[in-house]
Symmetry: C2
Subunit: 454 residues, 2 copies
């Protein structure tokens, strides 16, 4: 046990550029379409929502995009994040495999989300914007944008799904500690919110409704912009700082991953770790196995259709080509709130179509089982989302044991579970069960996908 | 903002020895007395509770005590902890002072407590002990010992004060995730617990009762030992790893603290940062200001008496000479559960008597105000206990501003507040108020101190 387990970089080693996988894709990404005309959307179509620098990143094809110094300065608060060798987990599994994890839970908000919240807030601030709106479910993203807002002295309004607002007050408290204003959604602050409340004053809300409220505020107020925490290309871009660091740290460890694993909801923490490794391959390096792990109850990649779809239930966003269960799909209740999205980010979907990545799905009980084993060996209690990656990494290590192979496994531990202990309580009390989506509902949701000319 | 803010050591730089302030005290510590005979207690008196290695550390006078390699191996999971320069806080305060903080919240349990939980569990394991009992209030210590138990495959039973057990289920969930068994105290598992329940079946419990239950189990079962998370000399010793690292890191930063600050309940996180700096002074170095910060509602150093007293309300522990409010003192309700102890660790008390340290007390509202300012500038939400150190550091920085002095301030950020967000909610809702102890009650409690021959 006396060998090195922690691979740290100093703050001068924070990458100076993000890596853009679009530069190396063998075929270009499909265009994004205007929701009305269904014709390719141009930068102007996004201007009510985002500042021009982020819109340009959304369509950028250069391989590297410089990280502004003020953004790198903020990153110094917790980056580079550690790469850890999970020797105690290896020992418990009695596997010949080597298991490494990149730990993103060291950020002040406790997950990878500030990696994009900080640059998004900064580019908006540079464009003269002082107010941002967004939505949040459980609160990981809302807390991250709130944190970014506190550093750049911006007003942040977070529309939090009513049921989360009521049932999960601690993540809301975190957002308020960072100075953000939290509004239970649906609210009386928007037309769409008022319309929903008129029909059902006790609506529990949904992520789709909250997106619509946040977008409406931005569209109607020229001094307010909108921020999104996953799915979009510029979000994937910002997260690649994870993989860029991990490549350097694996070199420090004198090792090279055979399998790269991350959980995938909208796809941003997966893209963050995986895209730089995919890039190495596309530029002539060896092909590694790259595995996206999703919940069996919301199996976007493994069961969804690759088609044009809306990003929200209210059909206000542009149409994106992605793996989707249909914008009207409602997954059954499960604990990994960050993996409950109907679609998969277009860049991740494109990589999947090109055969550059694999996908795997797990039910939640086995994921929590893995999360507990990880906590008892490595100390860190993983977020419910991250337990999916832990589960897959353990299964790969057990496969190596069965096959007598000493492969190197790297996974992204995207966040800690300090704000999700209720799900661990449910697990220990046997109240956490595996739930499947309704096949008929999925069929209906897929049948309702918008029609788009080929 | 582009100057270095993070001072990291690699895992080979984890100190190889703990520093023992007892070696450098100009006058020796007063003896510990047997609770029955009131004569100096010998090692044998402690054998029912602790393994011999820890008992020897309790009375050790050598300056350095080697940290066993298996303990250092576990520390690699999170140590050395970072030393940070709080440049954003400095900027917000517009102070010429330089503010540094040592961040102990990076441990898996979220505070400095694993620094002693790991060696305590390991020394017990080496002595053939497989079962440990302890008590916990809010749960920081219980979670840390549970974590230690999971790594060394030991059975941990935590007697958690009933009211915390019921009202703070998330820290309990953390203990259970690490595999510990939590018992609401008072319980039916001990004689003293049953006696309390017979009188009052709805007793909310207290830390004193929980200590009595944990101690009773250890005393009655030769295969079970007891572990304590603060107050005792060997706990102070184990925590000095904080200050030993900080001395190296301040050198890396090319700086040297004029003021060293930490909050103090039982005294262990304070001792951890402060003792190595006091040692530098006692061995001929310059005298720095060393400030212990305590809650005004439980002002052990600033208002307590230096006298022999029991460690628990049930008067089962040996008598220790310490600053105390009296073992029967009940502080009013406030949120820093880790600072609610009636006494101050004997080594910290001795240092105070010798004029080696200062003490300062704060009411809680101003501490939370400082905690929020810290979160909004540095990102980390401090634990309620740690906000006392933040408050004091900010006040020292503002003094420097008023005096036009560029002093260097170092404080210990002993833990994060992820499990204490309810107290932040109360703060934002204006429900958190400053409470004072009852002067008559303090007088009565001090009058009830045990009589000991001079």
């Amino acid at each position: 046990m006396s060998d090195q387990i922690k691979f740290l970089l100093d703050e001068d080693s924070i990458p100076k550029a993000w890596y853009n996988l679009a530069a190396d894709f063998p075929t270009p990404m499909p265009a994004v379409l205007h929701p009305g005309t269904k014709q390719p959307a141009g930068p102007a179509d996004f201007e009510p929502l985002f500042p021009m620098e982020l819109i340009l990143q959304e369509v950028a094809t250069e391989r590297y995009i410089e990280i502004p110094d003020p953004v790198r300065d903020v990153f110094k608060l917790w980056r580079p994040s550690p790469l850890m060798r999970a020797r105690r987990l290896e020992q418990a599994l009695d596997t010949p495999a080597k298991i490494y994890y990149k730990y993103e839970g060291v950020s002040p908000a406790g997950s990878h989300k500030p990696n994009t919240a900080i640059p998004q807030a900064w580019y908006n601030k540079q464009a003269g914007i002082k107010k941002l709106t967004t939505e949040t479910g459980a609160g990981q993203w809302g807390a991250s944008l709130a944190f970014a807002g506190s550093l750049f002295d911006m007003d942040i309004t977070v529309f939090q799904v009513r049921v989360s607002y009521d049932q999960k007050p601690y993540r809301r408290a975190l957002m308020e500690t960072y100075g953000a204003r939290c509004v239970a959604s649906p609210s009386n602050e928007t037309e769409c919110g008022r319309a929903i409340l008129a029909k059902n004053p006790n609506s529990p809300g949904s992520l789709g409704m909250a997106i619509s409220e946040a977008v409406e505020i931005a569209v109607k107020n020229p001094d307010v912009k909108y921020a999104l925490g996953s799915v979009l290309n510029h979000v994937m871009l910002h997260q690649t700082i994870i993989g860029e660091e991990a490549i350097k740290q694996m070199e420090m460890a004198g090792d090279d991953p055979d399998v790269v694993i991350a959980c995938a909801g909208g796809g941003s923490n997966f893209a963050g770790l995986a895209f730089p490794f995919i890039g190495l391959h596309l530029r002539g390096g060896r092909k590694r196995r790259i595995v996206a792990v999703e919940p069996a109850a919301c199996p976007t990649l493994t069961r969804g259709k690759y088609a044009y779809d809306f990003g929200d239930t209210a059909q206000m966003t542009p149409l994106m080509k992605m793996h989707t269960l249909g914008a009207s799909f409602m997954p059954p209740g499960f604990h990994a709130g960050g993996l409950r999205y109907h679609g998969m980010g277009p860049m991740v979907s494109h990589a999947y179509e090109l055969g550059l990545i694999e996908a795997k799905s797990y039910h939640q009980v086995k994921c929590f089982e893995a999360g507990v084993q990880f906590a008892r060996t490595e100390g860190i209690v993983p977020a419910p989302e991250s337990t999916h990656a832990v589960r897959c990494a353990i299964d790969e290590a057990l496969r190596c044991k069965a096959e007598g192979k000493s492969e190197t496994i790297l996974f992204n531990l995207s966040g800690h579970g300090h704000f999700d202990m209720q799900s661990y309580i449910n697990y220990f009390e046997g109240k956490l069960v595996d739930q499947d989506y309704d096949e008929a509902e999925l069929a209906a949701s897929l049948a309702a996908l918008p029609e788009v000319a080929a």
